[in-house]
Subunit: 345 residues, 2 copies
């Protein structure tokens, strides 16, 4: 099916664009009353993730309601560890919770790799197929997965944490086990991403949400090699790497075979562009808190952010997921400002 708007794909590849493409991390979610309505009709977050028709419906909502240039499949990075054998619950107000975790070699029985993706994650690929059918080529569809390091954090810690000290502890006490688990996650993630492409995802994003808790040397040892494996394996569609907080590793990340590097709102665009050069597209990076400001300030801060990138290779986004209590009208002001902005490069 021909895409009527392929702006984001061209921007990812560094091709000519007439204006900057824009989307928001967590655009399909709680900011939209229409999302909350669908969610309320179900038992909870996981039922929504696992019901392809409903997941497709909320995936498309921001395309209709906000006018973004890409849809991103509504899902969760934790479907991968669950498929590998670690079931999780999503506890309201608290976040994910795993009953079992990986602490020793014996626990590797909960880190299976030898299974068919369609058998265990077919609800995601089915949601992708339905979404594309209903989108009918209006915008590209982004697939995604968690980075192996971030998935590792949850599989070892069992829940969110400020320091993920249990996960980081394993790097010192049993690095062999850590690498074995990271390899297994990587193997499954590659198959999972390829299945998403096969189902119709036009581009992929890998979220390393907990990149920022590792220093440069440990990030180079426990995350980068696995991101490299993923980038080397995915040749079909553009890949975006978003390593939140990995300020000192952005240069190394940009050297991997990815098209786009995501920046969080604390990353200094000028410094990073200098480090990365013009061979990669940068994505980001408005502070999500800007959307709490007045419409006028949203517009001004968005323009300031756009000015800072000084390159045609830019996909516009926030520097983190949109906060759930942001008014959709503010998001529209952000998107309108981007769409009206003239590319100078």
């Amino acid at each position: 099916m021909t895409l009527k708007n392929d702006l984001i794909l061209r921007a990812a590849r560094g091709e000519a664009i007439e204006r900057y493409p824009v989307w928001l991390m967590r655009q399909a979610g709680r900011i939209l009353p229409e999302y909350r309505e669908v969610r309320a009709s179900l038992s909870g977050f996981k039922e929504l993730v696992e019901t392809p028709e409903k997941a497709a419906e909320v995936t498309i909502q921001p395309v209709d309601l906000l006018g973004v240039d890409a849809a991103i499949i509504f899902s969760d990075i934790l479907v991968v560890p669950e498929a590998m054998g670690l079931e999780y619950q999503m506890i309201e107000q608290r976040g994910p919770w795993f009953e079992k975790t990986i602490k020793s070699e014996a626990d590797l029985k909960y880190a299976e790799t030898d299974f068919n993706i369609e058998d265990r994650l077919g609800y995601v690929t089915e949601a992708i197929r339905i979404t594309n059918k209903e989108l009918n080529g209006r915008v590209p569809l982004i697939g995604f997965a968690g980075a192996p390091w971030t998935i590792f954090c949850y599989m070892v810690e069992g829940h969110g944490s400020k320091t993920f000290s249990e996960a980081r502890k394993l790097l010192y006490t049993n690095p062999t086990l850590a690498h074995e688990l990271l390899s297994r996650i990587t193997r499954v993630t590659i198959q999972y991403l390829k299945a998403q492409v096969e189902a119709g995802a036009h581009m992929l994003q890998v979220f390393d949400s907990w990149a920022g808790i590792l220093g440069t040397a440990q990030y180079a040892e426990f995350s980068l090699p696995y991101l490299k494996e993923i980038c080397d394996a995915i040749t079909e569609v553009p890949v975006t790497l978003f390593s939140k907080g990995a300020i000192t590793s952005v240069g190394a990340i940009a050297k991997l075979k990815c098209n786009t590097v995501g920046l969080d709102w604390n990353m200094d665009v000028e410094t990073i562009r200098r480090e990365v050069g013009e061979n990669r597209t940068l994505q980001g990076n408005l502070d999500p808190c800007v959307l709490y400001a007045s419409h006028e300030n949203v517009e001004n801060e968005t323009k300031k952010m756009l000015d800072s990138f000084k390159s045609r290779r830019h996909i516009v986004n926030l520097g983190h997921g949109v906060y759930p209590d942001i008014e959709p009208e503010k998001v529209k002001t952000f998107i309108k400002t981007v769409k009206n902005y003239e590319i100078k490069y």
Copy 2:
């Protein structure tokens, strides 16, 4: 009273030292069974903070039991907002909780500045006096306070948070109110730090625990000017600034009139030393997770960290507070390794 061990003060001032001084953030705390015993005899954390004899007792424990080169007064950064009018509770497993918060100009009535420090925070200065009497000059005593930005985060948000989006929201929606509150916190903090010095603190550390959630520009606007006011006002004793996660602002922090800049474990020592030069002492920065490793690895990683500093201007510490479930024997290995390490610079 003459200090028998003034190593840390000399290191802070860049004077000659025969070996590197060492202490640990959160050294007086849950890692020590002796601390847990004192704590169990009281109603909770706050009673311990507010009972000078007990606070002094746990302050001295790590000097006796671990052999650190400095004591740090047992207290909490949140005693300052409480003294200003916002009472807090410390909820087990959850952290601090403020009933009231600052969201509008009207709420500034809970941000008083016009009070006598001894009246409201006399329990801290009294604990300092008792500690020094009992230490009898064995090691210097460090006083401390939270940085205005970090205290602001709690006064606006009311509790801990991964993103402190309420606190950051105020920077966009009402920067005038934000600056007014930051100024008030600064005024009280300076008086409070001076009172600690008067009571006998030999050096001071300012903790900007939430520095990392601001980008470089916002850190320059909402934190640095207030840190500068503090550094300019405190001329009596050496000052350490520890801005956790402020990787891109370390250069600017080091330009303030402080003696020592604290590094977290994610900060690259070589890069920062290059940026800061030899006019400041650097403090840190072993990954606290290293102390989960075997004794042999603790020793090796500690030596690696020590090697990385390549300067005489170094006060050894972890890159963050010691985790509560670390075995004290591992801490002793860390300290022994530092004490046996030969300075090459």
